[in-house]
Symmetry: C2
Subunit: 337 residues, 2 copies
């Protein structure tokens, strides 16, 4: 393992993305989302993914010059065509847009179709939660999970993220699979075994071998219930926004598919928390937070730092494999490291 | 067990609610929601609950003369004060209102605060799904589940329902607890044992005895993930709409609390499915449905009949206990049975 200064990681990721062709602002935003994931202790969605993003940009699978073209513009619903751009800055823009519309109309949703992988979904509820909105985010990806009782992959890990404006914010971020695919990818990269109940091999039998699971199937969270939630996620993304169903989304870890756009869709909902109270009282959120603590629990994600406030002198830990890959890419793109 | 004709059940439930004081229309709507639950194979939220609703109406815990007072009226967000009325017709009205607003603005949400128990949550996505909207519904109830790692009840079963406009509609309806409290209540009423992993006794230890579980704690679906989802549900209902947090909601099965309003809140989100497509294509929903079937699975709730289309000559099965209770109530309220 190697430790890396957050400021240096941000700088390196930004430069690599700029040299790969992204405009400065979009590269900076994307780099910050990527490094935030490492800072949050979700390395499976952090710098580990950067070499794959770079490969896809150079191969044509991610369009560095993408704009976000508005294809639907209603008072509380906007749909963008992401033109196969990188997901991070696009989903962040979607969250900003949803925030503005919800502040005006109470509730709003924004979808981005024809986009790419966005990293850790919980990052994108921040622009909403810091404006005192409840933010909910959905995204799709390559199919890795079968329908309940089914035998072939139809659903992505089908993540749901949500932010509740407690202080500090409550950040919910979960896959409706038993575990996220990224977690298995990280295990594979680290050469570690899976825990039982996480996944099936391609033949449908349980496996503890991460690499077998990466070409196999994930199990839904709690069986039929996790499957039902995954159907909701896939419906609000691949099915209704599109253009790709999970089943047709190329795996970003597969170099042979690096030239094929993923055509991933994302969907966020923003709800103005200040306008919901039936009795004009707004202290229940603090009371709830206190009572959860008194009951011996804690609210999810309350230890996560705001992506806008990463401390540049902090350090993150990355695997030697990723360290080496980043060096290779820095050399290839002429970035000093 | 006793079989009962659906038409007779609707008639009986309507008359009992009218004699208890509900206006005709609201009684009819409530009766239809209650009987639909039995028709859907969810007896724990069907006629089994009717004696408890009647008891609460007569004791003052449910206000039969409640109106829905609009306290927030934004283009895409309406909040109603339910004035302690029965939840069924109020949540149905909320779903109609959300439908109208979403058809105009793309997305809308409606909350009902200070309401009562509403039965099976999946029923209320029907008014949305039949208008080609995605409907999502949340509700709260008495606290039965601890925070993750906590030891006292802070969260209800925290149900999430959703409808996707496939043909027939996909109806998702799940508790984010491992099982719904109603399922345990039904087991208690039937004198049957619980399955392992469903619940804890009041001392926090696992139990298979339904009556112990009714005064104990439920386990969240899949551990921390189910807890996180429950936090989202409770935030969108008890915490932000209110006025009652789950922790303060009286148990509807406890006669001693029948005079205390539950002050339950409900929240629905409607999303116009026809406006989401990034590429103008609308056939992905049928393709997805077909491919799920081809993969060996099926979409959730696809066998459920529209509450508006219950077949009156069909029969439902109720326990002898409920049969007897309904007879007692019919006699008490002067309804022929």
């Amino acid at each position: 393992m190697t430790t890396l200064n957050v400021g240096k990681a941000l700088n390196l990721a930004t430069k690599l993305l700029v040299r790969a062709g992204l405009p400065d602002g979009e590269a900076e935003t994307s780099a910050r989302c990527i490094v935030t994931s490492d800072c949050w202790g979700i390395p499976s969605h952090g710098l580990m993914r950067l070499p794959f993003y770079l490969e896809r940009i150079l191969a044509g699978g991610i369009n560095p010059n993408a704009n976000m073209k508005k294809v639907t513009d209603l008072p509380s619903l906007v749909i963008y065509d992401g033109e196969n751009g990188l997901g991070h800055w696009q989903l962040q823009q979607a969250a900003y847009r949803a925030t503005a519309l919800a502040q005006r109309n109470g509730v709003a949703a924004v979808g981005v179709g024809r986009s790419s992988h966005c990293g850790a979904l919980g990052i994108y509820v921040w622009p909403m939660v810091t404006q005192n909105l409840v933010g909910i985010a959905f995204s799709t990806g390559p199919a890795v999970m079968p329908p309940w009782n089914g035998s072939s992959a139809m659903l992505s890990t089908s993540p749901i993220a949500a932010g509740i404006p407690t202080a500090p914010p409550t950040i919910i971020d979960l896959a409706t699979s038993a575990v996220a695919r990224g977690k298995i990818a990280a295990k594979a990269q680290a050469g570690e075994a899976l825990e039982p109940g996480w996944a099936f091999a391609a033949d449908g039998l349980p496996t503890l071998v991460a690499k077998e699971a990466l070409t196999g199937l994930l199990a839904p969270l709690g069986g039929a219930k996790g499957y039902a939630l995954a159907v909701l996620v896939e419906s609000l993304t691949g099915v209704l926004v599109g253009p790709s169903l999970a089943k047709d989304i190329p795996d970003m870890f597969d170099s042979k598919q690096a030239a094929n756009p993923q055509e991933i869709s994302h969907f966020v909902i923003a709800i103005d928390a200040a306008r919901l109270s039936v009795d004009g009282k707004h202290d229940r959120i603090a009371i709830f937070q206190t009572e959860v603590t008194q009951a011996g629990g804690r609210l999810p994600g309350s230890g996560r730092v705001d992506p806008a406030d990463l401390v540049e002198t902090n350090e993150i830990v990355i695997s030697d494999t990723i360290w080496t890959q980043l060096h290779v890419w820095a050399k290839r793109l002429g970035v000093s490291f």
